[in-house]
Amino acid sequence: MTILHSIDELKNQFDTDVLNGKPDKDAFEEIKRKYTSRKGKIAELFAQLGSADPDIRPEAGKALNELKEYITIKLDGLSAVVSDNTEVTAADQLDLTLSGDPFPVGSIHPLTKVIEEITTIFTKLGFSLAYGPEIDTDFYNFEALNILKHHPARDMQDTFYVTDDVVLRTHTSNNQIHMMENHDPPIKVIAPGRVYRNEDVSVRSYCLFHQIEGLYVDKNVSMADLKGVLNYFAREFFGKNVKTRFRPSYFPFTEPSAEMDVSCYFCSQNGCNICKYTGWLEILGCGMVDPEVFKSVGYDPDIWSGYAFGMGIERMAMQRYGIEDIRMFYEGDIRFLRQF
């Protein structure tokens, strides 16, 4: 038997060994040792090469090298499969159902969420965002907004006083005055913020709440513009199928004044507890800026017109999330907060 024979035979033997299905790790190591180790079959044949017939030695040398390469490549390929196998085995040992390190989930307050949602809608329409002071003078909170002293309109808002002339703002409408005082028209701005009312704390009312005020002043602004913007807002916020209704109301700082209702989305206007069986939810107050307000900030009401609107955030958040007790917003109960 020539060495060439032996080489052929070894190849067949290797193929048989390897073809025996996918070897497990131990079998693979065994095959590797058998053929490629220093005392393995290949090394054995290389050793025999020296004593081989010189005529066939170059041919045998080439064949042996080819076989070595063949085996190496085969084994490399196999090692990938085998090491995959190995990993599966290891994974069986590592219990990945064990809990991962805790990274507790935080949360953004529901009132923030509603405020952001609303401000996003209006900023898309080009409204800027501004803030005004929570403590303000009677002038900014009342007088400049045409809410005159000794007028029953003052009863609409129970007020906290710091002094006779300084109050906790009862609405974000004070921002209207600050904005117009500090900027020349045109103005297009929304102002969210905290407001205070001297009302007993209960399930439905709290001594403070949050509002978003909107103000647009320009030339030739009409009530149709107001309806256009607020209807757009309602469709964005409540969904495109929402219906709105505008009805006359009274605010000393707007004329005409209106209240906007949206169709109750809890009962599809069939009547429910939340809409008090009217089919409508009261959402915001609005109107055309009263000429007296323009006069108080030095705008000429014959040149400028505009609209203003204001909405209560708590009420919208309560409706949106089905929260029944307004006090939940201010308790800081983690079990409440983490749901948002």
Binding site: G106, S107, D225, D333, R335, L337
Partner: protein
Amino acid sequence: MEISLNWLKQYCQISLPSEEIEKGLTLLGIECTHDSQSLNFTDVVLGRVIDCNPHPESEHLSVCVVDMGNEENYQIVCGAPNVKKDILVPVAKVGATLSDGDFKIKKAKLRGVESKGMICSGKELRLNGDHEGILILDTQLPLGTSIEKVIDFNCDTIFHLDITPNRGDCFSHQGVAREVAILENVLIQQKQLSMVESGLGISEQMKIDILALDGCPRYTARIINGVKIGPSPEWLIEKLTSIGQKSINNVVDAANYVLMDMGHPMHTFDLDKLSSKHINIRFARENEKMVLLDEKERELSTDHLLICDGDLPVALAGIMGGLQSGITEDTTNILIESAYFDPIVIRKGAKKLDLSTDASKRFERDTDIENVIPAMDYLSQLIVELAGGHISQGIIDVYPDKKPQTKISLNLDKCNNLLGISLTPDELIQILDKLSISHEKYGVNLICLIPTYRNDLTREVDLIEEVARVFGYDNIPESKSFSGSFLSFIPDLHNLDGKIRQILSSNGFSEHYSNSLLLEKLNHHFSDKPGISLLNPLSNEMSVLRNSILPGLLSAVAYNEKRQVKGFKLFEIGAIHEMNQESIRLSDEHFYLGMVWHAHSVLHWRKLPDPDLFQVKGEILKTLRMIGLNDISFQSDEVTGLSKSASIFSRDTQIGNFGELSPIRKKEYDIAGQVFVFQANVDILTKLIAKNKLQYEPPSLFPAVTRDIAILVKKNILSEDVIKSIFSLGGNLLKEVTLFDYYEDPSFGSTKKSLAYSLKFQSSDKTLKDKIVDKLITKILQQLKQQFDAIQR
């Protein structure tokens, strides 16, 4: 305000169903709901008593046989004295209900005699108060007809109105009828009076002087002699109770009725108790006292307007009558006062006494100065009808300066432009007619004459709102486009809040909104700046505005701890207020960020490290870097309310502080666990970030060289100072210094500690040679030795 539908029908024909009126009034700006009264019974039919015999066992009962139109006749036992053969009666069949379903008619035996049904009285059907006998009917309708088809029960509907402060004119049935008339497209009927005057002239019995014309521009009076005070008739009691008013006696009820009907508050005096026969209207003197009808003595001020008998106060004008001169059972002669009082005067006076009455509410919202006499005449007529007597000849009408009727010029284009509609002149005129506003053309404008009851209409824009109201807000189109000027943009403030909220909520913090009204004591916990106190707090617990963001957060910590929630993090961003006498608002407002950690070891199989101040510090640093602040340093500092605390700086500006809540504060907030807090002024952060210009630096192409040094220093040496010293020598090449080991060991002695730093050097233009780095390290160690007495380990 409660309004009765049947009452409204006295003023105009109403064909709309109550639902439509409710909706219509709401869309006219008068928020409205309604309750329809319905029949209180079911299954009551017309029957004929065809036989009636005495009950064998009882004198008071009769045994009747009733024909209800079907084949069978029914035996019914009846206790009414007026039951007899051959009368038509209402019969409640077996199975019928009475009293709104509370009472169900069943087959029964009365004193041994079977009874199948009940013959009803007027009271049982809520038709009238008659309970003495059964109701005997007269009709041609067939037997068995439902009784509601035989008798008109005239069920009323009560509207509950929420009237805005500008619409004082709607505080009466007449006023509401005017609005309903707009819906019905009719005009209201005016009252027809048939008042007869007789006897003595009024001016022979009374003299009236107004000494305070600014408070009382008009005062009128009538006198009725010879009345007899007694109970009111049924119809009046029913009318008043239907809108929630109590009946007192015929004269008082009459005045109340006319108030609810015509809206003008009037007062009735017992004429015989006005001894001076001279009424003076004047302002009260400071501290003048009088006892009002509610039997309480009130101390008055010069804001109060008084009706005086001579100089003796007999009524607090427009608010409440005096006890002394009021109507009693013995009253026979009456003086009726019908006056117009200034709304502001009445409001000031009522506010001062914290007194709000049906009268003051209406005067405050302004009344119709031209309505005083019609209302008084109607009241006079009604009193005579109810209580007898006769009306003295003439009236006293003190009205020196007649109020001119308001005229407003209305421009159609202006109206259309403001509303975004396109009314034609004819359509505008139709609307004005509906509002009873008369008008005449004057150039391109209409001169409109405003009815005297609409005191709220004084300007063109008010009239435009009226037009819009009647036109219907829902009929105003909605603009489909939106245009604006770049000039209308105003720089946004506080963009930072949203970013902070995102960062913190992504890192396990829950956002909290706390009550910014606090117990006064809490304003001393974390700040020594004086806070803002309220003049009229709701309670002691909410008497000041917070001067720190922390108390609210800590209250929430305590709240959660009490509910077995442990190991959580909260934050809040909100305004705090500090007193500033210089400011017109007496206060400075700052936005603050507060963060709290309720530390609690985490129960976890990996045995995670317990949260501590260094974890907190790391979290703060990360947050500040995320919002764009890089040069942050910490300085140990004493902070009010905290133990182990440090101030935090960006360059030289202090932005806030952090630390562990002191044991005293923990006790005060009733918190058991360990709590760490951080607070920062968001206004300052905003300014710093605006200044912070980011500059890109390309990463070095050359390898970095790292060297570690370990030194032994006294414990009072601050690591931060050591790092500063290292950097001062490291020059441009030193990129990072990291403290990687801190060690205290008895072998160092009790005053020493070991600090080990890893220093990273890198050049941007060449590969650093070891030699250069070694040189720097030597210099650094020398300096540390000099500066801190540091021994290299």
